[in-house]
């Protein structure tokens, strides 16, 4: 996108909604709609090649990147605004619903695989949930955001090989998806740690963690559910990437089997998803604030708008121009507003007074004969009485 047609230059409001370690997230609104601005800080950046690919494709469940680049020396991304709820904020998701979401996300990731793109940072905050407007599809739509991360991803969700500096891959995304599934159904992270190294250590011994046991101990899941989910943990949460699913198609098949194993039936699963969608509809201000929900948020532009927010030098001239304009207006009103009478009008009044007084007032200064000097007055002969 050229500089002249940047979405950011047409933004009229900009609200900071999240301050992260590497970037701040803003909700920006303008004539062309609402968008999410990711404003990188502290030298952070995104993977340009991934972002450029994503700008050219439209995949259901993938948040569209509208614009990217450097602004005032800072990298930035502009996403479509998704009116939904971050999956981080929804608490426990019923297992059938979570499996439905998993299949949707897997499909999106599968489509991304086709163009050689991997997410690299799947975590609850990067999956937005909303009611699916397509009535024929799964009632809840999961949309992935925040692609192109440079680092290993979010601790607690990143695959073991990512800690070793390997790039994001289908397998690493599958691992993250497994951690995500656990979070969705339990409302908790599978690995809980305070330090990065601690996360790394826990992730590296993922094979020794029995997810089934954890679910059983929580007491929130039936044996059927634990049993149905078990193949998924084995297909996703493996330390060795090669031991995970071959691809997302295989994952989808496993998830489909798991859904069937739950024994709730399609109708029951659909009803649960509908109910969850309704809950989301009520909650959807939790992630990114929709219209009117920005009250209390600080209006803050992290960048200078071109043609709107000028540089300091331009601003100085603008102030001077404004001062000049005010001065001009003051002078104008001073001249026009206080000009009580016109000098020509006064001249006409004086003239009228002078000339009219001649014939009406014999003693006035313009009378002719009587006031003429005696040297030019004619002495009229006095007729004889004879």
């Amino acid at each position: 996108m050229s500089e002249n047609s940047s979405i950011l230059d047409n933004v009229v409001s900009c609200h900071l909604i999240h301050r992260g370690g590497e970037a701040d997230i803003y909700l920006v609104s303008g004539n062309s709609g609402k968008f999410i601005l990711k404003w990188y800080r502290n030298g952070s950046a995104f993977k340009t090649e991934i972002v450029e690919k994503l700008k050219c494709i439209r995949i259901p469940g993938i948040c569209r990147i509208r614009e990217s680049g450097l602004r005032d020396g800072n990298p930035y991304l502009v996403y479509d605004f998704i009116e939904g709820v971050s999956s981080r904020d929804v608490g426990r998701i019923p297992v059938p619903v979570a499996l439905g979401l998993l299949r949707g996300v897997a499909q999106s990731l599968h489509d991304l695989d086709a163009v050689g793109v991997h997410h690299g940072d799947l975590n609850p905050a990067n999956v937005l949930l909303s009611r699916n407007q397509d009535k024929s599809g799964f009632p809840v739509q999961a949309t992935l955001v925040d692609f192109g991360i440079v680092g290993p991803g979010t601790p607690g969700y990143a695959a073991p090989e990512r800690f070793q500096g390997r790039p994001a891959s289908t397998a690493s995304d599958q691992f993250s998806l497994g951690m995500l599934l656990y979070r969705w159904i339990t409302g908790e992270d599978l690995i809980q740690a305070l330090e990065y190294d601690e996360y790394q250590a826990e992730i590296l011994r993922i094979d020794s963690i029995s997810v089934d046991e954890k679910l059983y101990v929580s007491g929130n899941f039936t044996a059927t559910e634990i049993s149905a989910l078990s193949p998924l943990w084995k297909a996703l949460l493996r330390q060795n990437a090669e031991e995970r699913c071959e691809d997302f198609d295989e994952l989808d098949e496993i998830a489909e089997i798991a859904l069937g194993s739950l024994g709730v039936g399609e109708i029951k699963a659909s009803v649960d998803a509908q109910k969850f969608a309704e809950i989301l509809e009520c909650q959807k201000t939790g992630g990114f604030p929709p219209d009117g929900s920005t009250n209390g948020l600080d209006m803050a532009f992290p960048y200078e708008k071109r043609g709107f927010a000028p540089s300091k030098k331009k601003r100085k001239y603008m102030y001077l121009a404004a001062f000049g304009l005010i001065l001009t207006l003051m002078a104008f009103f001073f001249i026009v507003g206080t000009n009580s009478s016109d000098i020509d009008e006064t001249g006409n009044l004086l003239l009228e007074k002078s000339r009219n007084s001649v014939t009406m007032e014999p003693d006035s200064g313009l009378e002719s004969q009587d006031s003429l000097p005696s040297t030019i007055l004619k002495d009229l002969p006095t007729p004889s009485l004879d």
Binding site: L320, A321, F323, G324, L327, T328, M330, A331, F334, I335, T338, N339, S340, S341, D342, I343, D344, T346, G347, L349, L350, L351, S354, R355, V358, T359, P362, D363, S364, G365, L366, E367, S368, Q369, D370, S371, L372, P373, T375, I376, K378, L380, P381, T382, P383, S384, L385, D386
Partner: protein
């Protein structure tokens, strides 16, 4: 920008002085009007309204002095000088009537001061500025009639006839035209002229007197058989 702002401020001050001068002039505070207009002209000598205001102020001062019957030549000279400068700034014609009247007054004041001075060129300029200024016509005709040159006398008569034709209410023209006829011995024409003037201004003392005199003369002439 600063220069522009300063220029605006200066212009605002000049306009303010002109406004003050105009207000003073309108209420008859002529000295204050002269001060204000002069102040404006110090900042902007070519300011049309300030110059016109100053000319009108001198005009008003001189006219007020006319009523006091004191010598006014210097005052009218001052006013005429300002009008002359103003004519270099303003060629719109808006000032011509006042300038013309000022020149009439100047010519008359000059004659009062020295009856032998030739003011006809001044009156001609006055007439050229305002062809409806019959006071200048009238005074010019009086001067021509006084010269006793036959051609000038005829010219004077034509001027009076011109005045009466174009402005029948200009009473002085009837009196002065009747005077010429009377001086020439044409009592009947004099009576005709004066009585015509008396119809226009029945209370004019001069016309009443001289119409009566002419009537008596005509009666005497009839009685004596000369008419």
């Amino acid at each position: 920008m600063a220069t522009f702002a300063f220029a605006l401020l200066l212009a605002a001050c000049v306009e303010n002085d002109v406004r003050r001068g105009n207000d003073a002039l309108r209420i008859g505070d002529y000295d204050r009007a002269v001060t204000s207009f002069n102040k404006a002209l110090d900042a902007d000598p070519a300011h049309r309204d300030a110059r016109y205001g100053l000319a009108l102020s001198y005009y008003a001062i001189a006219e007020a002095s006319e009523r006091l019957r004191v010598p006014t030549f210097d005052l009218w000279s001052q006013a005429a000088k300002e009008f002359r400068i103003l004519s270099n700034i303003d060629s719109s014609g808006k000032i011509n009537a006042n300038y013309s009247t000022c020149l009439f007054y100047l010519a008359r004041a000059a004659l009062k001061r020295d009856g032998s001075v030739d003011v006809v060129p001044v009156l001609d300029q006055s007439i050229q500025l305002d062809s409806l200024n019959y006071f200048s016509y009238n005074l010019k005709a009086l001067i021509l009639a006084k010269s006793n040159v036959p051609d000038n006398l005829n010219t004077a008569k034509n001027i009076y006839i011109h005045i009466i034709t174009h402005d029948p209410d200009f009473v002085s023209a009837y009196i002065n035209l009747g005077n010429i006829y009377w001086d020439e011995g044409d009592v009947e024409a004099a009576w005709d002229t004066w009585s015509a003037g008396l119809q226009k201004s029945p209370k004019n003392q001069s016309l009443m007197y001289w119409t009566h005199v002419a009537e008596d003369s005509l009666k005497a002439m009839v009685l004596s058989g000369r008419l």
